[in-house]
C-alpha cells in the first residue's frame, strides 16, 4: 500500500536576465527563484491497483515518481510504501520496486541485453532459480528470444522498450513505476507493451503507477486516474469521473485528447 500525505517539494532555480551587463553582475550576486514543484500532495493506492498519473508538462509528475522511488527527499509531508519511508530505507525499498523511464535506458549500451540482465541479477542478488524462471517467463511474454544476444545500441526503440520493461521486472517487484513507457513506439509495440502490463497486473498482482501523455495508455490500462497540475492533486477518480468534470455539455463525442486538453484549460494549469 502506498500512502502520501501532504508532500511538498520546492526547487531553487538560478535566474539571470539577458545581456552582457547582467552576465557580469551575476558573477558576484546571483538571484534565485523558488519553484514549488509539489504542494500538499496526498493520495492512497492499494495493492494491485493500476493508476494513471497525468498532468501537463512540468506539473510535478516526475518529482512525485522520484519521491515514491526514494530518489528525492521531500521538504515536508510523509510517504509510506509497504510500511517503509522510501528515502530513509532506500536499499530495502528499491528491492521491491521496478522503474522504467521511457526516455532513458538502464541497459548497458554496448553489451548484449542478456549480459545486462546477468549484471542486474547480481545487483539485485536474485537467486539463480528465481532468475531463470522469471527470465523464461519474460522472454516468452515479451518475445525477447531473438534480441537477447544483440547489443542494446543495435535494438529498435520498440525492442529496447520491451527489454527495459523486462529488466525492471527481473527481481519480481511488487510495485512498478512506468514513466512514459510508450513514448515514441509504433502501434504494434504500444499494444504489446500495454498487453504485457495488463497481464503482469492480473497474474502477479503487481501495483502499477503509470505516467504518460498518451491518453489511450490510460484508457487501456488505468481504472483510476490522478490528475495533477502546478503541484496539486486536482482530480482523483475513474476515467468517467474525469469525463464528467471536463464536459461542459456541448460535445460528448470529443476525443480523449481533446477532453484532457479542455480539462487542462478549464483548470488553468498549463
Amino acid at each position: 500500500m502506498i500512502t502520501m500525505e501532504n508532500v511538498c517539494k520546492s526547487y531553487k532555480v538560478a535566474k539571470r536576465n539577458a545581456g552582457l551587463k547582467e552576465a557580469c553582475k551575476s558573477l558576484f550576486h546571483r538571484e534565485t527563484e523558488k519553484i514549488q514543484a509539489l504542494s500538499n500532495i496526498s493520495f492512497t493506492i492499494q495493492d494491485g491497483e493500476m493508476v494513471g498519473y497525468i498532468g501537463p508538462n512540468g506539473a510535478g509528475k516526475s518529482s512525485t515518481i522520484k519521491i515514491l522511488s526514494g530518489i528525492l527527499t521531500p521538504d515536508s509531508g510523509t510517504c509510506m510504501i509497504n510500511g517503509r519511508i522510501p528515502w530513509k530505507n532506500r536499499i530495502q525499498h528499491v528491492k521491491e520496486i521496478g522503474v522504467v523511464f521511457g526516455q532513458r535506458s538502464q541497459l548497458w549500451w554496448d553489451i548484449p541485453v542478456i549480459d545486462s540482465f546477468e549484471l542486474l541479477k547480481d545487483i539485485y542478488s536474485i537467486p539463480t532459480p528465481n532468475y531463470n524462471r522469471k527470465l523464461e517467463e519474460l522472454t516468452e511474454l515479451l518475445q525477447l528470444q531473438e534480441i537477447l544476444k544483440t547489443p542494446t545500441r543495435q535494438l529498435s526503440l520498440g525492442q529496447r522498450m520491451r527489454c527495459e520493461i523486462a529488466a525492471s521486472l527481473l527481481h519480481e517487484p511488487k510495485l512498478l513505476f512506468l514513466d512514459e513507457p510508450t513514448i515514441g513506439l509504433d502501434a504494434v509495440s504500444k499494444l504489446a507493451v500495454r498487453d504485457f502490463i495488463k497481464k503482469m497486473n492480473a497474474e502477479h498482482g503487481t501495483t502499477v503507477i503509470l505516467t504518460t501523455h498518451d491518453m489511450q495508455d490510460i484508457e487501456a490500462l488505468a481504472n483510476r486516474v490522478i490528475l495533477i497540475g502546478r503541484g496539486k492533486v486536482l482530480l482523483d477518480g475513474t476515467l468517467d469521473d474525469m469525463r464528467r468534470t471536463a464536459q461542459s455539455g456541448e460535445n460528448t463525442n470529443a476525443s480523449l485528447d481533446q477532453l484532457v486538453a479542455d480539462l487542462y484549460q478549464n483548470m488553468n494549469i498549463l
Partner: protein, 258 residues
C-alpha cells in the same frame, strides 16, 4: 566485490566493441605522460640535483605520483564524470538499485584507458630504481607500496570531494582539478622544493606530504625515522572526511530534468 568484478567485465566487453580506437586512445595517453618524463629527463641533463635530490630521486617521486594518479583515475572515473551522470539521470538509476551508491558509481565507469599513463609510471619507476643508489630492503619496498596506495586513496578522496559539489548544484570541477592534476604535475618534485608555504598547505589542508615527502625521505635514506614510512596511513582520515561530505551531499540530492 564480486559485483564490482562483474561490472568491470561488462566494461571490458563494451570496450572491446571499439578495439582500435581504444588502443589509439591508450597510446595517446601514454605519449602525453611519456612526454612529461622526457621533459624531466631533458631538464636534468643540465642539472645534477634540485635541493639535494638527484635525477633518480625525482624519477621515483614522479613515478609514485603518476602511478597513484593513474590508478585513482582508473577506479574513480565515476566521480569525475559524476556531473554528467547526474544531468543524464544515470544517478537516479543508481539510486533505484539496492546496492551501495559508491560501489555502483565506481563500477559503472571504470576507465581502462589509464593503462597508458600507468605504463609510463612503471617505466619511470624501473629506471628510477635502477639508477638510484638505494639499498632495497623489505622496509623500503613496503614504503614504496604505502606511498602508492596512500596516494591513490588521497586522489580518490579528492575526486569524491569534487563530485560532491554536484549535489549542491554547483558545477565545480576546476577546484578539484587544481588540487589533483596540480599534485600529479608538480608532485614530481618532493614538496619541500616548493618552500614552506606550500609544505604547510600540503600537510594540513590536503595531506600530500604524508604520502610523498615524508615517506620519500625514509625511502631515500635521508632519515632513519621509520615512522615516516607509516604516514600514508593517515590518508584514511582524509578519506573519511570526504566520505562524510559525500553523505551530506547525498541527502541534499535534487534529481534534475523531467
Amino acid at each position: 566485490m564480486k559485483l564490482y568484478c562483474k561490472y568491470i567485465s561488462a566494461i571490458l566487453k563494451s570496450t572491446m566493441e571499439y578495439k582500435l580506437s581504444f588502443f589509439l586512445m591508450v597510446i595517446g595517453r601514454f605519449l602525453i605522460s611519456f612526454s612529461e618524463f622526457i621533459a624531466l629527463s631533458f631538464l636534468f641533463s643540465g642539472f645534477t640535483q634540485i635541493k639535494g635530490y638527484t635525477y633518480s630521486d625525482i624519477l621515483l617521486c614522479f613515478s609514485v605520483m603518476q602511478m597513484s594518479f593513474a590508478i585513482a583515475e582508473c577506479i574513480g572515473r565515476g566521480f569525475k564524470v559524476f556531473s554528467s551522470m547526474v544531468k543524464r539521470g544515470e544517478f537516479d538509476r543508481i539510486l533505484l538499485r539496492p546496492r551501495s551508491t559508491i560501489l555502483q558509481l565506481l563500477g559503472m565507469r571504470f576507465d581502462l584507458g589509464r593503462i597508458g599513463p600507468l605504463a609510463t609510471a612503471i617505466i619511470t619507476l624501473i629506471i628510477g630504481v635502477r639508477k638510484s643508489q638505494i639499498l632495497w630492503n623489505t622496509g623500503r619496498i613496503i614504503t614504496l607500496f604505502f606511498m602508492i596506495s596512500g596516494g591513490t586513496l588521497l586522489f580518490l578522496s579528492l575526486f569524491m570531494f569534487g563530485a560532491t559539489f554536484c549535489f549542491f548544484s554547483i558545477e565545480e570541477t576546476e577546484l578539484t582539478n587544481v588540487l589533483t592534476y596540480g599534485a600529479k604535475e608538480h608532485g614530481k618534485y618532493p614538496i619541500d622544493v616548493y618552500g614552506k608555504g606550500i609544505m604547510r598547505f600540503c600537510t594540513y589542508i590536503i595531506p600530500y606530504t604524508l604520502i610523498q615527502y615524508y615517506p620519500l625521505l625514509y625511502l631515500l635514506g635521508k632519515t632513519d625515522n621509520w615512522l615516516y614510512a607509516l604516514y600514508p596511513f593517515s590518508v584514511v582520515f582524509f578519506l573519511l572526511l570526504c566520505y562524510g561530505f559525500w553523505r551530506l551531499g547525498l541527502r541534499n540530492y535534487k534529481s534534475c530534468g523531467a
